[in-house]
C-alpha cells in the first residue's frame, strides 16, 4: 500500500540532527536520551525538553511500538495512513503506517520500524504492523 504516485518529501535536516540521518542510511533507528534526567524524548533536540540539560545523547531504539492514533487520508491520489506511534522506549512520534491493509488498522496495534526512501533518497522512519 505504499504510495507510488506521490513521492514523499525529503526531510530537510538541521546540522545537529545529521547523526540521525546518517544512522538511518545504515538502517539504524536512533533517538535522543538525556544523561541528566534519564528521559528519552521525541522529536530529537540538543537541549532536553524536560530538564533543559545539554547532556543529551543518541541511543539505539528497538524500532517497536504501538499505534496511539491514526487516520487514513482518503482524499489523496493514493490513500495513506498518518499515525502517532508510541515507542517501546516511551515517546510518541508522528509517522506513517505502510505495507498494510488500512482497513484493518487499530489503535493499540503493534508495529515495527521500516525505513522508507524519500524523494532525495533519505530513509524516513515509518512503521508496519507485526505479530509479536
Amino acid at each position: 500500500m505504499k504510495p507510488e504516485k506521490e513521492v514523499m518529501q525529503a526531510p530537510m535536516s538541521h546540522p545537529e540532527n545529521q547523526p540521525f540521518w546518517d544512522a538511518a542510511a545504515e538502517g539504524k533507528f536512533i533517538i535522543r536520551k538525556c544523561a541528566a534526567c534519564g528521559r528519552v524524548h521525541w522529536y530529537p533536540r540538543a537541549i532536553c525538553p524536560f530538564c533543559f540539560s545539554d547532556r543529551t545523547e543518541w541511543v539505539r531504539a528497538s524500532g517497536r511500538g504501538t499505534i496511539y492514533s491514526y487516520s487514513v487520508m482518503r482524499r489523496a491520489d493514493e490513500p495513506y495512513a498518518i499515525a502517532y506511534v508510541t515507542l517501546e522506549e516511551g515517546p510518541t512520534m508522528l509517522t506513517n503506517i505502510v505495507d498494510c491493509d488500512f482497513d484493518a488498522l487499530k489503535i493499540g496495534q503493534r508495529v515495527q520500524l521500516v525505513f522508507e526512501v524519500s524523494e532525495k533518497g533519505a530513509p524516513v522512519p515509518m512503521f508496519t504492523p507485526y505479530e509479536a
Binding site: N17, S69, Y84, I107
Partner: protein, 389 residues
C-alpha cells in the same frame, strides 16, 4: 491586576462576502475596519492601537498600518492561528488597562476560496527552520488528518461515535438556515453527515468547516469611551490563552489547550460554565467543538458525545446554544481562521442583535473559545468571557 471591567467591545463587523475574487486581502482588511468603526460610531483617527495576525499581508502590522494609514501608539501581531483574534481582544484589554492605548482595532481578512486553496487536505510546505518540520513533513500531515487523529483517539478512549459528532454539524445547520450570508444554509440530518464521504478517518466531509473568503473586525475601547457611544455595551470579563504541543513525546490527543486557557478565563471573570448563556466554540471540525466543550467544563471529559447529542447545542432547544451564526461548519471561515467570527457572534448575542430565531433570551454572559494551528500536533487556545452591561 485584571482586565475584568477594564475594556469593552464597542464595534464589531463581519464581512458579508463569502467569495471575493475581485478584491485584495488588504482591501478586505480595510473594508472590515471601516465596518467595525461605523458600527461603533467612531472614525479612523480615533484608533490608537492596532492588532492583526498572519492573515494580514506584510511583516507583522507594518504594511497594514501603512495601508490603512493609521497612527497608533500600541501594536500587537501575536499569531496563534485561528484563535489569534480572541487573544487580541484580551491583549487589547490589557493594553487599555495599562493606558497604552484607548481604542484598539483588530482586523482579519483573507480569500482562500478565491485562491483555490485546498485548506484541509493539502500538505503545506513548512519553513525548514521550523524545528518540527524535519520530523513531520515527510508523513504528509494536513489540517484534516491532524484533527482526525484526535477524533480517532477520542472514540477509542471514550466510545464517542460519528453520530454524536454529527449532532454538532446538525445544530450548526439549524442556526445557519436563518443566516442569509451562510455558505451552507440547508438543515442537515445526522444521517446526511455520517453518509457524506470520508475525508480522513473518521471525519466526513460534513464534519469539516467551509473554505470561505471574507473577514471581520472588532473595536475594543476603554470604559469612558464605551459609555460615550450609543451601542449596547459588551464588557470584557476574563480571558485565558495557552499553547499545547507534543510535550517532548508525551502526546495526549484527548484534550485541547482549552483545558488550560478555560479555567484562567473563568477565574478572571468570576463565573462558572453554568453561567454561560451562549458559547461561540471554534468549529474547524466537529471534533474541535466536542473537545473544547469538555475542556471548558461544560461536561466531563469523555462525556462530550452525549452532551452534544439530541440538539443540546441548538438555540431554543438545548442547554448550550452555540455558534448561532452557523459557525465555520455552515456560515464562513474567512482566511481559514475562525476566531474573529466567534467573537462577533458572541457580541451580537450580548447586544440582542442575533437573528430573532436564534437569539438567546436574557443573554447576559457569553463565551468565545478558539483554537488555532492543528489540534493533533501543536495549537493555541484562547478563551474569552464577555458580559452585557
Amino acid at each position: 491586576m485584571t482586565i475584568n471591567g477594564k475594556a469593552y467591545i464597542v464595534g464589531a463587523f463581519e464581512h458579508p462576502t463569502r467569495k471575493a475574487p475581485d478584491k485584495s486581502v488588504a482591501h478586505l482588511h480595510a473594508e472590515v475596519a471601516k465596518g467595525a468603526l461605523k458600527d461603533a460610531g467612531l472614525t479612523k483617527s480615533d484608533v490608537d492601537g492596532y492588532f492583526c495576525a498572519g492573515d494580514a499581508p506584510g511583516l507583522g502590522p507594518l504594511s497594514m498600518v501603512d495601508y490603512l494609514n493609521l497612527k497608533v501608539r500600541h501594536l500587537d501581531s501575536t499569531d496563534t492561528g485561528g484563535s489569534s483574534y480572541i487573544v487580541h481582544v484580551a491583549h487589547a484589554a490589557e493594553a487599555i488597562a495599562l493606558g497604552k492605548c484607548s481604542i484598539a482595532l483588530i482586523t482579519l481578512a483573507g480569500r482562500p476560496r478565491s485562491e483555490g486553496m485546498q485548506t484541509g487536505i493539502a500538505p503545506r510546505e513548512g519553513n525548514p527552520a521550523i524545528p518540527d518540520v524535519e520530523w513531520e513533513s515527510p508523513f504528509r500531515p494536513t489540517t484534516v488528518n491532524m484533527y482526525a487523529m484526535c477524533a480517532m483517539r477520542h472514540m477509542h478512549e471514550f466510545g464517542t461515535t460519528s453520530e454524536q459528532l454529527a449532532w454538532i454539524k446538525v445544530a450548526a445547520s439549524h442556526h445557519a438556515q436563518h443566516n442569509p450570508n451562510a455558505m451552507l444554509p440547508k438543515v442537515v440530518t445526522v444521517e446526511e453527515v455520517v453518509n457524506s464521504p470520508v475525508v480522513s478517518d473518521p471525519l466526513h466531509r460534513l464534519d469539516c468547516c467551509v473554505i470561505s473568503d471574507g473577514g471581520g473586525a472588532l473595536i475594543v475601547a476603554k470604559p469612558e469611551i464605551a459609555r460615550s457611544l450609543k451601542r449596547p455595551r459588551v464588557k470584557i470579563l476574563g480571558a485565558g490563552e495557552a499553547i499545547k504541543g507534543q510535550s517532548g513525546g508525551d502526546v495526549d490527543l484527548t484534550f485541547s489547550a482549552g483545558a488550560w486557557s478555560g479555567p484562567v478565563a473563568f477565574a478572571e471573570a468570576g463565573v462558572k460554565p453554568a453561567d454561560i448563556k451562549y458559547a461561540s466554540i471554534y468549529d474547524s471540525f466537529t471534533i474541535t467543538v466536542l473537545m473544547q466543550i469538555e475542556d471548558l467544563g461544560f461536561c466531563g471529559k469523555g462525556d462530550g458525545g452525549k452532551f452534544v447529542s439530541d440538539g443540546n447545542l441548538i438555540s431554543g432547544v438545548g442547554k448550550l446554544p452555540f455558534n448561532t451564526d452557523g459557525g465555520g461548519l455552515c456560515n464562513n471561515h474567512p482566511a481559514n481562521r475562525g476566531g474573529m467570527t466567534k467573537v462577533i457572534e458572541a457580541v451580537r448575542q450580548l447586544r440582542g442583535e442575533a437573528h430573532p430565531a436564534v437569539q438567546v433570551k436574557n443573554c447576559d454572559i457569553a463565551l468565545a473559545q478558539g483554537t488555532g494551528g492543528r489540534l493533533g500536533s501543536r495549537h493555541g487556545s484562547a478563551t474569552l468571557i464577555l458580559g452585557r452591561e
